[in-house]
Symmetry: C2
Subunit: 231 residues, 2 copies
């Protein structure tokens, strides 16, 4: 995968963790932020951890969108719709937009163990509605602990990938499989993102109950269903 990965809202914990793991895997990563300087500082921190050869840079969210056609959204739900509306002109037609947003009730001052009902069904479906029809929306990475991403070692979690664009699913599975320990699984249509997003709220409850960083694994599928760094 030679094209750069732009992480929109990439200075948050989840975005930073993904940036770190992909930088470690040799990918070219652009961290996007409202503030270019903050993005550049985040890129510097990742270089400090990964080595100066790491291909990580920082820029504004809109410059990051304009620079590639592979975008990952890691933004809090409270800013999700507004940011997408702002970025829409900067997103190239044909781009893959990977949405990791979880509509936690914490976005409006509620609990992180509850989700908000999104009219379209899920945050990812809201993204699909807000952006151009020529953008390929994929939902993924909701259930991966940002703590584990930012730590060393294997990430003991499966990534469930949902999209109405079947051809984009293996692309995102390959991206997920670059994170050591992760197995990426086809989760079907984008409408299923509503379930995958909500699983995060369930895991957050378990994390609070047990002071842990939980994840999920899907069992019982044939080996070919799981994309890993070995497959």
């Amino acid at each position: 995968m030679s094209r750069p990965i732009a992480i929109i809202g990439g200075t948050g914990k989840e975005g930073l963790g993904l940036a770190l793991r992909w930088a470690q895997a040799g990918e070219t990563v652009i961290i996007g932020s409202r503030d270019a300087k903050r993005a550049q500082e985040a890129a510097e921190k990742i270089k400090q951890r990964t080595g100066s050869a790491a291909k990580v840079s920082g820029d504004t969210n809109s410059a990051a969108c304009a620079a590639t056609d592979l975008l990952v959204l890691t933004v809090p739900f409270e800013g999700h719709a507004e940011l997408l509306t702002q970025l829409k002109p900067a997103i190239r037609p044909g781009s893959i937009v990977i949405d990791a947003t979880v509509p936690l009730a914490a976005s409006i001052g509620g609990r992180a163990t509850r989700t908000l009902g999104v009219w379209q069904g899920s945050a990812a479906q809201q993204t699909a509605e807000l952006l151009s029809k020529e953008v390929v929306v994929v939902a993924a990475f909701h259930n991966v602990s940002s703590e584990l991403l930012n730590a060393e070692g294997l990430v003991d979690c499966d990534v469930i990938v949902c999209s109405d664009h079947a051809e984009a699913i293996p692309v995102v599975q390959a991206l997920a499989a670059k994170i050591p320990g992760v197995r990426a699984i086809n989760g079907g249509k984008l409408e299923n993102a509503r379930i995958v997003e909500q699983i995060t709220a369930l895991l957050i409850g378990m994390n609070i109950r047990h002071k842990a960083h939980s994840g999920i694994r899907i069992t019982g599928l044939p080996d070919t269903a799981y994309k890993t760094s070995q497959s």
Copy 2:
């Protein structure tokens, strides 16, 4: 656990599978059905598989409710509310009612990969609303493949147990842990059942896509969070 387990709607695949596993674990099981004869035939089949020493009998749903205070609901969602309303007088105050119902859209002729919105939030919360306040409703067993329960060998799946009655959660965890391979996890309040129920629809989609019998595991929790037959 000496008290009998009554499985309401126990002649369906999920109910039969649970009955089989608990009979194999030496538990006393009463299979409930609308039709006592069908329930008795189902009990006979389980005895044939488990050995004549198995403590399994069959009866009407209401007789099964009256016979014990530990009930498991494995009924299709289309009959869920009506059946509970009928059974309400037969259910003893203080009973634990374990609801495994998933509100699949298939109940109204839709897809098994989609769920219906239940006004109360989940099938289990509907149960809590329909039954007496003196009944303890627990949601569990939604994600366990009936195919795996009815087969031999380990069931590669965690059971997430949700209830507003914290004291009932370990009781149901212990029951789940009698199924070899299963780990039972506290899933928090009953309101979380909406997430656990929906996971089943996601798994059904994966089963269709891969001709498989999938399940889930929660990773990253401390050992004490997982109740197993060894713990």
